[in-house]
Amino acid sequence: MDIAHGTLVWLAKSFGLFYLIGLSLIVVIYACWPSNRQKFDRAATAILEEEDRPWQ
């Protein structure tokens, strides 16, 4: 298996670039999706509840 330097650079500059841009976009869209807001707000406040027993 002999990977040339040029091949790796090409891969990094093409696939690698779009892969990371794509991932960033997916994460930002997921985090900012309006209908997720309620879920996130609930998650952030749920840990503050005093209840210290597992739900049965």
Binding site: V9, L23, A31, F40, A44, L48, D52, P54
Partner: protein, 546 residues
């Protein structure tokens, strides 16, 4: 502890310990001529001690079904105790090696106490002993609360905790006998690494089992950080430690990689150990204990998600910044540098998120040393990640690399961020776990806070000064074009800073001792009797006689 195990779990524990005893004895007999044999003896003794412990509680009545109505916190409690014991031990050895640099004769003419052996004892003691136990203890606590589910069984978490500590003990005793793979933060030899694989995979499976049992559908962000810590450390550990032992009854092995590939694999491991062992897991701690202690939800849950994925994807590529100006191809160095700079975004996302959560509650930060530990940790996290990105720039690195600046940077992170967030979380957690109203001595928490902060500042400022002077002395040329200073000149110039650093470390150690004493006294305090006990209980006793 044994009384909490079911009959099957007690039998399971005996089987595991019996197998471990046999493995230890085989190691001891086969490797009698090598330190490998001593480690075999150590494994057998540890397993036998475990067998005695299980037998002593074997005939205790089994736990009732009422246990399913409670979280299982025994492993967290033991883990906190072990973490504090490792903290005192690791910081003590760290301060010893610090004094060694100023007074090199303090080895007392023994091989085991030379700098090269004590230094990994310090790093393993604090990173894996203190940090690892704190992460395991808090992860069990946080995972159960945020999943609203009890750990799936009692035996596995105890196996993970004690198995992990056996790994730490084998690692540390190995260094003192001169065993090392010579890979920074991955020094333990092949058989110790294999044992950690067993323990770590069990930890991952336990985590996934708990996640599968969760009653809360949303997975809280702290759990994502803990999961990244467990998954990535497994991956890093396995790849970096691929090695061929010279025989199955000797400790020595040779790495599968050589030359620059070995260096790249090691620093891919090394930097991601900083990322996923010393950052991701501790961010999990921060995202749970800081809002909980402050009584306020995290400032931006969205930002915490973006930061999580940012850290997970960027950190993976940053390791090559440890190899600037080496045989590593230039473009790989540039790649590492670029990703290190981008890392500033998710890092400051988390640090800013923590500080903005406290915005509006500064009065509480002023009055509550526990919350102040967490606040200072977030500040140091922001400072250190900025410094780290800056030092990864190749031209800055040409000044900073191989100097004490790196040591200063690492300790700003390790003392200022990792240890501070851990102490803050432990001070919040201990009264909750042992059902006390607060710590035994709030004043001692205050003393610990100022010793820790003072110690960190003295340490880091000394090393910044020392490092920059060192770097400048190594690159100063005189009129005839030769170096103005010899290497020994730079060593002499470092001496006052080495003494200052050792004093800073001593302050930090004293703080940890005060903290350990305070935790011990809190655990020993009598539990408060609830004011309404007696009047407001279901009348179970009456029903029993019917």
């Amino acid at each position: 502890m044994i009384a909490e195990l079911t009959k099957n779990e007690r039998n399971g524990a005996l089987v595991i310990l019996a197998v471990l005893t046999v493995v230890g004895l085989v190691m001891a007999v086969a490797g009698y001529a090598d330190p490998f044999g001593i480690h075999g003896g150590l494994v057998a003794i540890a397993a036998l001690a475990g067998i005695f412990a299980v037998i002593s509680g074997y005939f205790a009545p089994e736990p009732t079904l009422a246990r399913f109505g409670e979280y299982y916190d025994t492993p967290s409690k033991i883990g906190i105790g072990l973490a504090m014991a490792w903290a005192v031990f690791g910081l003590f050895v760290g301060d010893w090696v610090a004094w060694l640099l100023a007074y090199p004769n303090a080895t007392f003419d023994a091989g085991w106490s030379s700098f090269g052996r004590l230094r990994p004892v310090h790093t393993t003691g604090v990173i894996f002993g203190f940090g690892g136990n704190a992460l395991i203890a808090t992860s069990f606590h946080v995972m159960q609360r945020t999943c609203r589910a009890r750990l799936p069984d009692q035996l596995t978490p105890l196996f993970v905790l004690f198995g992990y500590n056996l790994f730490c003990i084998l690692a540390v005793t190995g260094y003192l006998m001169g065993l090392t793979q010579s890979k920074e933060y991955a020094e333990p030899e092949w058989y110790v690494d294999l044992w950690l694989v067993v323990v770590w995979v069990t930890y991952l499976v336990l985590y996934l089992r708990l996640l599968a049992r969760r009653r809360e559908p949303h997975i809280y962000v702290a759990n994502w950080y803990y999961l990244a810590f467990i998954v990535v450390v497994a991956m890093l550990h396995v790849v970096n430690n691929l090695a061929v032992p010279i025989s199955f009854y000797e400790a020595k092995s040779y790495s599968l990689f050589s030359g620059v590939q070995d260096a790249m694999t090691e620093w891919w491991y090394g930097h991601n150990a900083v990322a996923f062992f010393l950052t991701s897991g501790f961010l999990g701690m921060m995202y749970y204990y800081l809002p909980k202690r402050a009584g306020r939800p995290i400032f931006s849950y969205r930002m915490s998600i973006v930061s999580f994925w940012g850290i997970t994807f960027f950190y993976m590529w940053a390791g090559s910044h440890h190899l600037h100006y080496t045989a590593l191809p230039q473009w790989v160095q540039t790649l590492g540098m670029t990703f290190s700079l981008m890392l500033l975004i998710p890092s400051w996302g988390s640090a800013g998120n923590a500080l903005l959560t406290l915005n509006g509650a500064w009065g509480r930060v002023r009055d509550d040393a526990t919350l102040r530990f967490m606040m200072v940790a977030a500040v140091f996290y922001g400072l250190t990640t900025f410094e780290g990105s800056f030092m990864a720039i190749r031209s800055v690195n040409s000044l900073s690399h191989y100097t004490d600046w790196t040591i200063g940077h690492v300790h700003a992170g390790a003392l200022g961020w990792v240890a501070m967030i851990t102490f803050g979380s432990i001070y919040a957690l201990v009264p909750w776990l042992w059902k006390r109203e607060g710590m035994y001595s709030p004043r001692a928490v205050e003393v610990h806070f100022w010793l820790a902060l003072g110690g960190t500042l003295v340490y880091v400022l000394a090393m910044w000064n020392s490092g920059i002077i060192q770097g400048l002395m190594w690159r100063t040329y005189n009129d005839s074009g030769t170096l103005a200073y010899s290497f020994v000149d730079s060593v002499v110039a470092m001496r006052p800073y080495y003494i200052a650093r050792a004093i800073g470390g001593l302050m930090f150690l004293l703080g940890a001792i005060v903290g350990s004493w305070n935790i011990w006294m809190t655990v020993r305090m009598p539990a408060p009797v609830p004011a309404d006990a007696g009047g407001d209980q279901p009348a179970i006793a009456l029903q029993a006689g019917e």
